[in-house]
């Protein structure tokens, strides 16, 4: 999976926000803001990744329990799928 074209992350004030631009903008009524680990995962998903890839990457980047990390990755993926931001 990876991020579909048409979404960008903009830093506005202190918030990293996923913004649909262009055609993705039509009918998009939710707003996704990213915390640090969310922004990190978003960056990872610029290229094709599996759930395992994301888990490994986040474990390498952050000092975090594997069970919690896996839960975070899954919640994040669900959020992006719901927003149709993943392909």
């Amino acid at each position: 999976m990876k991020i579909v074209q048409g979404f960008i992350v903009r830093k506005i004030v202190d918030q990293s926000i996923v913004v649909p631009v262009g055609f993705k903008n039509v009918g998009f009524h939710t707003m996704i803001s990213l915390n640090n680990s969310g922004a990190f995962l978003w960056q990872q998903l610029q290229t094709e990744k599996t759930e395992d890839d994301l888990l490994s990457a986040i474990l390498e980047e952050y000092d975090i329990d594997e069970t919690i990390a896996l839960e975070d990755v899954r919640v994040f993926i669900t959020k992006l799928k719901k927003a149709e931001a993943l392909e």
Partner: protein, 294 residues
């Protein structure tokens, strides 16, 4: 062809409906400029032919084409008859816009002048957006020459609330625009202008005031107001400032403007009913926080 200056932009505009021009644009008339920033023309015909060009994208019944030499066309097809209802031709800087409308309006519930209103509004908004400004959906008042925009989805009551300020403060308040005021920055300070695109009412004035605050309105039984976090300010602004889907660059420019607005002025959410107390709730907060003087 009329020459007008709207939000400090010199515009040559050629409308079909002269009464519409007289009612809405006359007060922006300015024959004092030679070079225009933007040129908009509107015409109607019995059949709009599909222009030749490469399709860039399609969203529902709107198709965007790239024509020759930095020219584009965006056209709308009627979902029933498949006829082209309108086509907008424009250059890459949105400074030359030609709008063609089908003179037999299908049963969309809109009159030709309403299409004229809508598409000239888009043309203005696109150009303003590229110039670093934005059109915000809301009612703009000048309270003692200080600009406040009440914004909300249609039907929530922003015009009603703006009207209440006029009712209670009388001559201290002027309603400068009742639907689509224009925002521009000058040396980092946001200003807001009345525009002819004032919705169903003719309430608009050719005036510019410093923008002091944007207040998003929600209906409620009891009145209260809260300052919005950056996140919620952005979310609300993204809902009420149109971000054109047909051009990613314009979409990005709009985000720049939203960024600047959130950093420049306080933004509030007002939960209100239709009452004097609703006005008082907002006014007190803006006064207490030093957003407005007097």
């Amino acid at each position: 062809m009329g020459k007008v200056t709207i939000a400090d932009l010199n515009i040559e505009i050629d409308l079909m409906n002269h009464q519409f021009y007289y009612d809405r644009f006359q007060k922006y008339g300015n024959n004092g400029f030679e070079k225009n920033d933007l040129k908009i023309s509107v015409s109607s015909c019995g059949k709009i032919l599909i222009p030749e060009g490469g399709i860039i994208g399609q969203v529902k019944d709107t198709i965007i084409l790239r024509l020759e030499k930095d020219r584009y066309c965006r056209y709308l097809v009627d979902s029933q008859s498949r006829e082209i209802i309108q086509a907008t031709f424009y250059n890459d800087t949105y400074s030359e816009v030609e709008i063609k409308l089908l003179n037999r309006v299908p049963e969309t519930g809109l009159y030709l002048t309403e299409y004229e209103y809508m598409y000239t509004g888009f043309a203005f908004s696109d150009f303003l957006c590229l110039s670093g400004g934005a059109v915000l959906h809301g009612s703009l008042i000048a309270y003692e020459n200080q600009g406040i925009v009440f914004s909300a989805n249609s039907g929530i009551g922003k015009s009603t609330h703006a009207g209440l300020w006029k009712k209670y403060f009388g001559n201290k308040v002027a309603i400068l625009n009742d639907d689509k005021p224009a925002i521009r920055f000058y040396q980092g300070v946001p200003y807001v202008f009345g525009t002819p695109w004032s919705g169903k009412s003719d309430l608009n004035e050719n005036k510019k005031v410093q923008l002091k605050s944007i207040v998003f309105i929600r209906r409620a039984d009891t009145n209260r107001i809260e300052k919005l976090s950056a996140r919620n300010s952005i979310f609300n602004l993204m809902s009420q400032i149109s971000r054109p889907f047909y051009d990613e660059n314009l979409g990005l420019k709009t985000m720049d403007t939203i960024d600047r607005l959130v950093q420049s002025i306080p933004i509030y959410q007002l939960y209100c009913n239709v009452s004097h107390e609703a006005v008082e709730t907002a006014w007190k907060q803006l006064r207490t926080e030093g957003v407005i003087s007097k």
